[in-house]
Amino acid sequence: MGEPAIVASGVTKTFNHGTDNAVTALTDIDLSVEPGEFVSLIGPSGCGKSTMLRIFGDLISPTAGSVEVFGKSAAQARLDRDYGMAFQKAGLFDWRRVRANIELPLELAGWSKDKRARRSSEMLSLVKLPDFGNHYPWQLSGGMQQRVAIARALSFEPKLLLMDEPFGALDEMTREHMQLELLRIYRQLGTTVVFVTHSIPEAAFLSDRVVVLSPRPGRIHSIIGVDLGRRDENTRESEGFFRKTTQIREALRSVEAMP
């Protein structure tokens, strides 16, 4: 498969290092993600999932340890625009129409106007909003806004998609629908995804591997492989899916019970 998408070795993060209110969010994280893989991070809140994602994306730097992304430093990968990001809040820019929001990364990368317009049209159909390009964000529902945010994150075909609870604010039905959409787009574009969630079924449904984190300080408790083949609506009701959610739930219970 070539070089790994992410190699994290001995990553430790202490916020406010060396002061009275130092918080160790992560200790000694070793994790490797293969290209094309879909990996979820799950764990109780405050266990360092977002911190880990931000370190992978070079938004914050680790106190110790190193992160390599496609054989480069995370900082270099960021400058090379290898990352697409999406958060729980869609974070669209009010003053930009939907199309201009999707084109933002392309603008930053210096694409021509024509090329940008062509790509944003493609992305709009990909996220099934072909008629909403000229709308402003406030005219869209929460689920539609999140689809635009995903289109924006993917518009420039980043090698690595980092998502922090992107469906966390959506209702259950929309959420399940968005999970299917994300998988469809992911398969179509062949990107690598690191996905933070605190929903067990979401992690099981989406992922090739689920990384279970334990809190205080955050470490990797276990990594659960999920081999359910190609997902569709029936997957959620399958025996294998039930076994995997149970396995993840038990791992999380033992994590929560730890002192």
Partner: protein, 257 residues
């Protein structure tokens, strides 16, 4: 067009009712002119005093507009500089907030000492200072209060601080800035007139009001207040218009009307 102007009718109707009541009450109870002149007397005084009022209104209006423009531009520019050079924020912004809470208008006599008691610049200076603080503070707020995820998104796309300022912070600050402009516009007229009470050239609305009041020509004083209100209202309407046309994305947005 009808629907656009429709919201204007209720206040106009209420205004007409209040003015009619005012007229009726003053007549019915035979209230003395020096306490409260009738609206018809005030309008008569506006006509009667039109030539000096027009000059005074023009001069005071110029002071207000000049001070407004200078105060708005410097307030917005300084907010930009401070946002770009974050290390200034900790010291300058709290100071500005504190100064904004002081009665700045009290500076008027001091500006008279600096610029000369009959110099128009002492009045303009008061307007500038009064306008500056709300614009500076609000614009600064808009530049800083960007969703952290939006900044993270920009950084993940390798955008520089200058790009973030141009593409995120400035558009984010625009509604804050325009709101402060809408507040500052009528404030500039108030500041100009109060400053004129303390000094500056004599052919202005402030001295016109004080002189007529001291000679018990209250209808004339009220006539000058009518002119001042008209100027304040015009500036307010203009800034509200600027607010509308410069933010097309807010058209029809029910959550931010």
């Amino acid at each position: 067009m009808r629907s656009r102007l429709a919201p204007l009718w209720p206040p106009i109707v209420v205004g007409v009712i209040i003015v009619s009541l005012w007229e009726g009450v003053v007549r019915a109870f035979d209230i003395k002119e020096f306490l409260l002149p009738k609206p018809t007397s005030i309008m008569a005084a506006v006509g009667d005093q039109w030539v000096p009022l027009r000059t005074a209104g023009w001069q005071t209006g110029r002071t207000a507009v000049a001070g407004l423009l200078i105060g708005v531009v410097t307030g917005a520019l300084l907010a930009l500089v401070i946002s770009r050079f974050g290390w200034l924020r900790g010291s300058v912004t709290p100071l500005a907030v504190a100064l904004n809470a002081t009665p700045i208008i009290a500076l008027a006599p001091i500006f008279n000492a600096w610029f000369g008691i009959t110099d128009f610049r002492s009045n303009t200076a008061v307007v500038i200072v009064v306008v500056f603080f709300p614009v500076f503070i609000n614009t600064g707020k808009g530049l800083d209060e960007v969703e952290p995820n939006q900044i993270e998104l920009m950084r993940s796309l390798a955008a520089s601080d200058t790009t973030v300022l141009r593409m995120v912070r400035i558009p984010n600050a625009l509604p804050f800035f325009l709101t402060s402009l809408r507040l500052a516009a009528p404030l500039s007229v108030i500041a100009a007139i109060v400053a004129e009470y303390f000094g500056g050239p004599q052919n202005r609305l402030g001295p016109f009001i004080t002189q007529n009041a001291s000679f018990s020509r209250y209808a004339n004083a009220w006539a000058a207040i009518v002119v001042a209100s008209a100027i304040g209202l015009a500036l307010f309407a203009l800034s509200a218009l600027v607010e509308k046309v410069s933010m097309p994305w807010k058209q029809g947005d029910p959550s931010r009307a």
